[in-house]
């Protein structure tokens, strides 16, 4: 027989089951589409980063003077001018400040940083400013009040060029554009203030002279960027710089960072690579789920043709030829699915690219639809339905042809596990017991339906559960800060002040309308150090030194105790796990040691771990203020925690503090929550998009599974109709059967989903986002959604068969069931 004949026949099969074929193809399309949409994200992100960093002339080496240290710009430039291998040097002045961009009744008052750039000769030439909206800065802007503000902050706060912007000292700036330099594509926690992020920390770019004028640091700089000649050895340059600095500025501490060690630069590449792993998992899970569902559903369509296969066997048709028709049906499903998958993949990849573009507005973003990953997914998409159709053919040809053909009493096939009903008393009439019996009668078929439902629920639980885990972590983190004393303000001072200094005393004594502004002021120190593990690897540590005996707000502990004046540190559970320590052990911490008036060096110190706190952020650590001598900081403070007096609002406190000299940052403790959100926001947004897709996928799988199930029982249903059992009763029976199937499928799906989450969170996310502790959490809403989809929707699917039942040709259906 010619292939054309088989093609035509299989086309008729597809047409006969068109709704199921279409639904399976859509499932396959979502699987292949999502897989290909995620597939080569790493490649296009890295390519875009490479080109963007090159276009913006990202520095090769970065020198930061130790916090609070400044040097005369010309002197520093002169000293560094002739280092071999260096093509260009630019000095900058970075100054902490506050931004007040309040408008329309909304208070936008946040900490920030002024970045004074060298605009001479068309500069900056290193770490160029990428303007995303509005005007750029030019040489004409030297010493002007024109400012370009960070793209992400202004986007989040809905600020546009032309809006009124003030900074600390009540200076009004001319906001002319939005933009970013490459080292500020993201705000790394702990580097500029307390818990700042892109939404709560504003980086403002001006001319260097402008920042010097506004900060009262005429001629001073504290930041240098270097661009190397080709093939320059960075270590040689570093050695030379160390020599020059020692010779010229021996008392000034500084830190040198190679481009490849830059936290932001690294994070962008690490994220691109690490994220790919996560997206691969999601995409793989998606494709696996879709493939399993396709296997299940396509197989069952063929299963229903077993009698025809038996007829073929009786006619002596060779087995390979018997398989041809189901294979061609599988191919049709595969082709439709993969063609749809192309569209889904394209839409999906563009949607993801759009999300990334919003998060990281690079000057170059290439986000093509990668055909390679589509082909990979399509191979799976083509193979699975074909293999799925072979399985029932194999099952069919194992029996004698007569058994496959028989429509008489032999077709009863046995009662499966129905006899078990003897031991399970089910109340109600016999026809309401039938759903239970039907499930037990064909365990294999029931299991397939349950697996179909469970795959859908597994995907839903896995995807939503990841999102829930992220959200739970955000809430856990914010709860840590705000569950007690939520109205306090965290203030970071611009430098270290003696605790009994006039500056701090003045702040403590601030009044409003003749009444004290604060009910209490706690002084403290925030120091940025690093944990050092056994392999000498370093991890960021933000150490908050406070007085545990008097501080109103105190960290909540999971175990151990607060530092009691003895040497000791309270660290996060994540840090303890990663460092392999517990309460009673010691941890090695690199601490900044004050050397000169405003200069510091880092020194490693072993400190006993006295407690584990409840903050999911790994870097957060607490020590007693009386341990400040470890850093040669005894009697000094750089942070204040302000508690409002009765009748004083946090906004009023912020406004007053904004005008205070010496204040670098004023942060509402409630804003800290957004630090957590920021850390995982991109995952959050993409996962929300995926969640939408997974609900559609789950519905399609659930609908198809139960729809096929109803088809398989159509002859029994016709018999019931022949006896006058009303449609509503038959539907009720189907609903009950589906509810049971859905319930078991949902329970299985929840279990599979939970294991998938454990594997993803503990095995993968922990590697990709090492700074945060994620405790697995599946929200009640997720369980409800899964239950609605897996039990209610599956349960109600027979309602969609009402029309089919109403139009049923009962006599024909009674005679033969195909």
């Amino acid at each position: 027989m010619k292939l054309k004949f088989w093609l035509r026949w299989s086309y008729r099969d597809a047409r006969e089951h068109w709704l199921q074929v279409l639904a399976i193809a859509l499932i396959l399309a979502l699987g292949t589409g999502v897989y290909s949409g995620f597939g080569k994200q790493k490649e296009w992100r890295i390519e875009s980063l490479d080109k963007s960093f090159a276009m913006l002339a990202m520095y090769d080496l970065h020198m930061e003077l130790t916090d609070g240290s400044y040097l005369e710009g010309p002197a520093l430039e002169a000293a560094l001018a002739h280092i071999e291998g260096v093509a260009m040097v630019e000095t900058r002045l970075l100054v902490p400040t506050l931004i007040d961009a309040s408008k329309g009744g909304e208070t936008i008052l946040y900490p920030g940083r002024l970045v004074g750039l060298d605009l001479s000769n068309g500069g900056p030439h290193i770490n160029k400013l990428n303007i995303t909206e509005g005007a750029r800065l030019s040489e004409a802007d030297i010493n002007s009040n024109r400012v370009v503000i960070d793209h992400l902050f202004t986007s989040y706060r809905k600020l546009s060029p032309g809006d009124t912007v003030k900074i600390a000292g009540d200076f009004e700036l001319d906001f002319v554009g939005r933009g970013q330099t490459p080292e500020n594509l993201m705000i790394m926690p702990g580097t500029g203030g307390f818990m700042e992020n892109e939404n709560t920390f504003a980086i403002m770019y001006m001319s260097r002279a402008s920042v010097q004028r506004l900060s009262g640091r005429a001629g001073l700089v504290n930041d240098v960027v270097f661009l190397f000649n080709k093939n320059t050895d960075p270590d040689a340059v570093i050695a030379e710089i160390n020599k020059v600095m020692a010779a010229n500025f021996a008392d000034t501490g500084f830190n040198l960072t190679k481009k490849t060690d830059d936290k932001v630069y690294n994070a962008m590449y690490t994220d691109a690579r690490g994220d790919q792993r996560f997206w691969n998992i999601i995409a793989g899970l998606f494709l696996f789920g879709a493939a399993m569902a396709t296997f299940n559903l396509a197989g069952r369509i063929v299963e229903s043709q077993r009698r025809q296969i038996g007829i073929g066997m009786a006619l002596g048709v060779k087995r390979p030829l018997l398989a041809l028709r189901p294979i061609l049906l599988g191919l049709q499903i595969a082709l439709i699915g993969t063609i749809f998958g192309l569209a889904v993949g394209y839409i999906f990849s563009q949607a993801i690219a759009g999300i990334f573009d919003d998060f990281y507005p690079l000057p170059y973003w290439r986000n093509p639809f990668f055909i390679e990953s589509y082909i990979n997914a399509s191979i799976v998409g083509l193979i699975v339905p074909v293999v799925a159709t072979l399985f029932p053919v194999w099952r069919a040809v194992r029996v004698q042809p007569i058994d496959a053909i028989q429509t008489g009493y032999l077709v009863a096939k046995g009662g499966g596990l129905s006899y078990l009903m003897e031991y399970v008393p089910v109340p109600g009439k016999s026809y309401m017991q039938m759903p239970f019996r039907n499930i037990l009668r064909s365990p294999w078929r029931s299991l397939l339906t349950m697996l179909g439902v469970s795959i859908a629920i597994m995907l839903l639980i896995a995807m939503s559960g990841i999102l829930d885990t992220f959200q739970r972590t955000i809430h856990q983190g914010s709860d840590f800060y705000i569950k007690s004393q939520p109205n306090r303000l965290n203030v970071v001072l611009d430098t270290f002040y003696p605790i009994n200094s006039e500056r701090i005393s003045q702040i403590q004594a601030l009044e409003q309308d003749g009444q004290p502004l604060f009910s209490k002021v706690d002084v403290g120190l925030i120091m940025v150090g690093e944990y050092v593990n056994h392999d000498d690897e370093e991890m960021l540590a933000v150490i908050d030194l406070f007085d545990p005996e008097t501080a109103l707000w105190q960290p909540t502990l999971k175990e151990g105790q607060l530092p009691d004046g003895q040497r000791g540190i309270v660290i996060s559970e994540k840090a303890a796990d990663d460092l392999g320590v517990e309460v009673g052990d010691t941890v090695r911490v690199a601490l900044p040691i004050r050397e000169g008036l405003l200069s510091y060096r880092m020194e490693e110190t072993d400190i006993p771990v006295v407690g584990i706190h409840d903050n999911p952020l790994r870097m957060q650590a607490y020590m007693s203020l009386n341990q400040a001598d470890l850093m040669n900081m005894q009697g000094l403070a750089n942070t204040l925690t302000l508690y409002p007096a009765k009748g004083v609002t946090t906004e009023e406190m912020r406004r007053v503090m904004f005008a205070q000299p010496g204040v670098a940052s004023v942060q509402l403790v409630s804003d800290i929550a957004s630090s957590f959100e920021e850390a995982i926001e991109i995952f959050n947004v993409v996962m929300m998009m995926i969640q939408g897709v997974v609900v559609i996928l789950a519905f399609l799988i659930a609908f198809n599974s139960t729809s096929i199930n109803v088809d398989e029982r159509v002859r029994e249903i016709a018999t019931m109709f022949a006896f006058g059992l009303p449609i509503r009763t038959v539907i009720r029976m189907q609903v009950v059967e589906n509810l049971i199937t859905g319930l078991i499928g949902t329970i299985l799906g929840v279990l599979f989903g939970y294991f998938a989450i454990v594997w993803m969170v503990k095995g993968q996310v922990a590697d990709m986002i090492p700074d945060i502790q994620f405790d697995i959490h599946i929200a009640l809403a997720t369980f409800v959604t899964a239950s609605v989809l897996g039990i209610v929707v599956v349960g109600l699917t027979p309602l969609l068969s009402i029309r089919k039942f109403l139009r049923m040709d009962i006599p024909s259906t009674l005679r033969v069931m195909e």
Partner: protein, 234 residues
């Protein structure tokens, strides 16, 4: 009990219209044992489907137990099938997940409002399956399955019993047992309408309606008079 007045049934098969029944009129009395005889395609199953309200005629009127089933709504048709007619199928159509007793109980549960319901086991005993009531259909022989199907139909207590080739899948001996049961029902006042292509079966009927190409070609007592079941052979 059953009246057909100028009943026709036509099917559109693509561009061709097939007439399954053509202007058929007949009247069957209560308690009659009627065999509808005819070759394949003669319209006998269509006739059965019409009488049972499984299908509606293209034209004409059908009255069963005083009810005009051609004018009934779909819901009323379900009520009619539940309360007036009972089926026995050639391929039995038992529910495979239910035991013999439960298959019978299934229909009894549909009539739970009726008083004096027979018990499922009692009905099974009446068809000679008193010891097999706990068995599933696949554990029963073909004849036993058909007896369960008859028991199921009897349990409804409906006045009209419709059987579509009830012995079609059975051997002679078992077929005869089934015919005995059906005849006994007619003796109990039920109207029994058996559709078959087996001319031998028509010998035991009170009345034989022979169809050919959708038309009645003969209607009356068996040509050689009503024969006892013992005389049957095929």
């Amino acid at each position: 009990m059953i009246t057909l007045e100028h009943v026709s049934k036509k099917y559109a098969m693509g561009a061709v219209t097939v007439t399954a029944l053509n202007d058929v009129s007949l009247c069957i009395k209560e308690g009659e044992f009627v065999v509808v005889l005819g070759p394949s395609g003669s319209g006998k199953t269509t006739l059965l489907n019409m009488v049972s309200a499984l299908d509606i005629p293209t034209s004409g009127k059908i009255t069963v137990a005083g009810k005009d089933i051609t004018a009934m709504s779909r819901m009323k048709q379900f009520d009619f099938r539940r309360n007036t007619v009972s089926f026995i199928f050639q391929s039995f159509n038992l529910f495979p997940s239910l035991t013999a007793e439960e298959n019978v109980q299934f229909v009894l549960d549909m009539y739970a409002h009726r008083s004096n319901q027979p018990r499922a086991q009692a009905v099974l005993e009446s068809v000679g399956l008193g010891l097999r009531y706990k068995h599933f259909p696949h554990e029963l022989s073909g004849g036993e399955q058909q007896r369960v199907a008859i028991a199921r139909a009897l349990a409804t207590g409906n006045p009209v019993l419709l059987a579509d080739e009830p012995t079609g899948e059975l051997d002679f001996k078992t077929g005869v047992q089934i015919l005995h049961l059906l005849m006994a029902q007619a003796g109990n006042g039920r109207t029994v309408l058996v559709v078959t292509h087996n001319r031998e079966i028509s010998r035991i009927a009170d009345r034989v309606i022979e169809l050919s190409s959708g038309e009645i070609v003969r209607d009356g007592a068996p040509e050689a008079g009503k024969a006892p079941i013992a005389d049957l052979h095929w």
